[in-house]
């Protein structure tokens, strides 16, 4: 059996290479056992980050309900990312996280680090098969590499069908080990951001900069547990309920984020590198419904998440697929998300107050709501191939969580909205 699978893989690879060379693939029938999905996404925030992401996945049918799933993801990010520092009514200078070079931020403008760029490649694979009557199992792994980040993980799941396959209970486990090695090393907690202009020469600046760094890299381990219940309600209604637990241990500070220390008049005295707890336990309950309504298909889900950083969130997601003609469909999509702030989130630190143990001014863990409005258009092509286009607008609205802005901070925008546009093309063959 093993040999047969190996033979299948090698013949499929041979067929793929023949196709790549423009030759007629004689083993074409074997390729029929493989389903390929591909997509390209462009993501563009106004004046901030732009990203491009390409995915190719392959699912091989090895008979007897056995499948091999392979995935390749490549993405590239570039643009400007909010540093966490506050805007001021005058020009501010910042040193890049690497310690080399600086940039200025205009009066009244939210500080953004415009040298943010990265490329990521991810590979993943999984195998799934039945174990016994009504039992299925899967196991897999992933490897993801960025310039300054490496993630490796393993996962497995077990599912049992009951009640003529109308009820399925599943248990999934995942473990991942991540290593971050930012350029310039990792700053000590609350290390000040130094400015070259405050030093007489390069060597004295470099010595002072090096003193703010205490290690080149750090790690994070995450253990995920997922309990799932899937239930067929009736001929037109399928429901899923998941509980997930995610326990992370290690470095979770963002090595590029700052928090401003301001005086009673709101003027920045110093910018410090943020510091987050090194443990986080997240829980979530996810409820999904798939409904067939008079020829259309509704996908409605809700997620409630809570964690020991005291961040809680509600997410509602709706996708409604409406057939337009025999071949074309349109699918309006809407998502609403709302989160409370993590307990250590502060938009700035008051100089007069003692330094807390943990602080982050990263708006992504502050009080915020976001919404996404979009539409997908798809068509079935010959031989079951499918082509689709998706476009969406993503709006982030950070909120003030009852923080009084002293002095000059009252006249600058501390909770800037972010708007992004996403465009995606997918092709399945």
């Amino acid at each position: 059996m093993q040999l047969k699978q190996l033979a299948n893989i090698s013949m499929a690879l041979a067929a793929a290479s023949c196709a790549a060379l423009g030759q007629q693939a004689e083993a074409g029938t074997l390729l029929d056992d493989w389903q390929f999905n591909s997509a390209i996404l462009l993501y563009n925030e106004t004046d901030r980050v732009s990203a491009g992401e390409a995915i190719l996945t392959a699912r091989g049918d090895f008979g007897d309900d056995k499948y091999l799933n392979l995935g390749l993801v490549v993405d590239a990010l570039t643009g400007a990312s909010a540093t966490g520092a506050v805007a001021q009514p005058y020009v501010q200078s910042f040193t890049r996280p690497s310690g080399r070079g600086s940039y200025d931020v205009a009066p009244g403008v939210t500080p953004l680090d415009d040298t943010f760029h990265d490329t990521r490649v991810q590979l993943d694979a999984s195998w799934e098969q039945p174990l016994a009557t009504n039992w299925r199992a899967s196991g897999g792994g992933h490897l993801s590499k960025e310039y300054d980040y490496l993630s490796m993980g393993l996962n497995g799941s077990l599912a049992r069908d009951f009640n003529q396959k109308n009820t399925t209970v599943s248990l999934g486990l995942g473990y991942s080990h991540d290593t971050i090695s930012p350029e310039g090393g990792i700053a000590t907690a609350f290390a000040p951001m130094l400015l070259r202009s405050d030093y007489a020469d390069d060597s004295s600046y470099q010595a002072a900069f090096d003193a703010t760094r205490d290690r080149a890299d750090d790690t994070k381990d995450t253990l995920d547990v997922l309990l799932g219940l899937t239930q067929v309600i009736n001929r037109n209604w399928l429901m899923q309920l998941n509980y997930s637990l995610s326990m992370a241990d290690g470095y979770m500070t963002d090595p590029f984020k700052l928090v401003s220390v301001v005086n009673a008049n709101g003027e920045v005295q110093q910018n410090l590198y943020e510091n987050r707890p090194d443990q986080r336990t997240k829980h979530s309950v996810y409820w999904q419904n798939k409904l067939h309504l008079g020829g259309s298909y509704l996908d409605a889900s809700y997620r409630y998440m809570w964690d020991d950083w005291e961040l809680t969130s509600h997410t509602a997601d709706l996708k409604w697929r409406l057939p337009m003609t025999d071949r074309w469909y349109v699918e309006p999509q809407f998502r609403y998300y709302q989160q409370s702030a993590a307990e250590f989130y502060q938009p700035f630190i008051l100089q007069a107050e003692p330094l807390p143990q943990y602080v982050s001014a990263d708006y992504r863990i502050g009080k915020m709501n976001t919404y996404t409005v979009g539409a997908k258009f798809g068509t079935k092509l010959a031989q079951g191939n499918e082509l689709s286009f998706r476009i969406a607008l993503y709006q982030q609205n950070p909120q003030n969580d009852r923080v009084a802005a002293p002095g000059v901070l009252a006249n600058v925008e501390l909770y800037e909205k972010v708007t992004a546009v996403m465009a995606q093309v997918s092709y399945s063959f």
């Binding site: 993980g153 999934g172 997620r303 961040l311 969130s313 998300y337 997918s426």
Partner: protein, 76 residues
């Protein structure tokens, strides 16, 4: 007061009707025509979900739910 009682009775009836419905949850194997359609799969657009999860993971304070919350990216 009367309204409360009527509402209470209505709610009890509704809950009871749901309980009896539980015994008839599900379908027979030959009634799976619609459920078997690709559009009815829980993860009917796996690539869309994967791309969305990646974006929201890197832009918001929550992750996971549908699948693992996991690590895997240092994206900002």
């Amino acid at each position: 007061m009367k309204l409360k009682k009527i509402l209470g009775a209505g709610l009890t009836l509704l809950l009871l009707s749901q309980l009896t419905a539980c015994s008839t949850l599900g379908v027979k194997p030959w009634q799976r025509d619609t459920l078997a359609k690709e559009e009815m799969a829980l993860n009917s657009a796996p690539l869309d979900n994967r791309l969305d999860d990646h974006i929201y993971f890197s832009k918001e304070g929550s992750s996971g739910g549908r699948s693992f919350a996991g690590g895997g990216c240092g994206c900002n």
